[in-house]
């Protein structure tokens, strides 16, 4: 890869960011999900009360999403009822990742740790009102991957066991755009992904 190609990609990434700012203005019409857990996810949140709160958050987020005026802007073609079920099923898949062995893929990859699993579920909860993932999987790099695709376009948010969160968008032809995601701004990343998929 030449340096020129990378420079060109940087310019594209900047354009993407501008475009996604516009997307965020449109999606500001979304109703806020007040019961959704926010902030750092930690072990204390695994208490029964936290579980109850999370479950309530899922229900309210789902109902809110069903009536959101921005629902038509979503990349996914899933009907709302199916979308809620699908995201809930993805959360269960994340929980089942506790069963993965060390070196689960024969390439020496670590299974997702508790931090990665909990943050991934938080992002899935945020996704309820933004975009439905197409796939959730253990990451070959150690962590959880939340993937999106529409036609030939691909995007993901990857939560690493290290605590880092990175996202990418790719059209499969040019150099992929990558950026760091702060746990408090996963919705921003999801909206940027929607903007990319719909562009």
């Amino acid at each position: 890869m030449t340096l020129a190609a990378i420079t060109r990609n940087s310019a594209t990434s900047t354009e993407d960011r501008t475009e996604h700012r516009g997307q965020r203005v449109v999606s500001a019409m979304r109703t806020q999900v007040v019961t959704a857990p926010t902030g750092k996810v930690c072990a204390e949140q695994l208490s029964p009360i936290a579980h109850l709160g999370k479950a309530l958050g899922w229900v309210v987020a789902f109902i809110t999403a069903s009536t959101s005026p921005s629902a038509n802007a979503r990349a996914s073609t899933w009907p709302q009822a199916e979308a809620g079920n699908r995201i809930s099923a993805f959360a269960e898949i994340v929980d089942e990742m506790t069963d993965l062995d060390a070196d689960w893929n024969g390439y020496g990859s670590e299974p997702p740790n508790e931090f990665a699993r909990e943050v991934a579920k938080q992002i899935l909860l945020d996704a309820t009102t933004v975009v439905v993932p197409s796939r959730v999987t253990a990451s070959a790099q150690g962590g959880v991957g939340i993937c999106f695709n529409l036609k030939d376009k691909y995007a993901d948010i990857e939560v690493f066991n290290s605590g880092e969160i990175l996202a990418t968008t790719s059209d499969g032809k040019t150099v992929p755009a990558v950026w760091e995601v702060k746990p408090s701004d996963s919705k921003g990343a999801l909206e940027r992904i929607v903007g990319f998929l719909n562009s």
């Binding site: 030449t2 940087s10 992929p176």
Partner: protein
């Protein structure tokens, strides 16, 4: 999986006294395995490990042989392929650091791996001509997605042992 359905370990993956061969042509195929594919029939960066991405080289193996690691654990996984020439020569971190990528023929045998695999190779990262075991997150993510974009599923008719 029954014992009778487990294939015999291929003879071409044995070393047989051969030494590593660092001559790669740009059109040589490299094979990688993945547990699942997305709706496009492809993988994403989350499915690719890098640096030191383990692959089997096409010059010395068939596509299906990449599923023969730790038999029979991966026999129902998917095989993907990409060309040596698809590997980007260099990527640059936003802070200016440059990282180079090369494929290295790295045959393995016990005790490192349960079985000999003469076709085993790795996509490795270099910085200032020194091997990099870890890459900065942004570069790491970009090279993994770059490779994932170029990986194509090997169709079933080409997966004969």
């Amino acid at each position: 999986m029954s014992a009778s359905s487990i294939p015999n370990y291929p003879r071409e993956l044995l070393w047989n006294g051969r030494q590593p061969d660092q001559n790669f042509e740009a059109d040589e195929l490299l094979f990688y395995r993945a547990k699942a594919l997305d709706e496009r029939g492809k993988v994403g960066s989350v499915d690719v490990m890098c640096p030191n991405t383990s692959v089997n080289r096409g010059k010395y193996s068939k596509p299906v042989h990449v599923l023969y690691a730790k038999l029979p654990r991966f026999l129902n996984w998917h095989v993907l392929e990409f060309h040596v020439g698809d590997i980007p020569a260099e990527l640059q971190h936003p802070d200016g650091r440059k990282f180079q990528f090369v494929v290295v023929h790295d045959p393995v045998k016990p005790p490192i791996e349960p079985d000999e695999n003469y076709a085993h190779s790795e996509v490795r990262a270099l910085q200032n001509q020194q091997s990099c075991k870890r890459l900065p997150g942004l570069v790491d993510k970009q090279i993994r997605q770059f490779l994932a974009d170029r990986m194509e599923r090997v169709p079933a008719e080409r997966l004969d042992p």
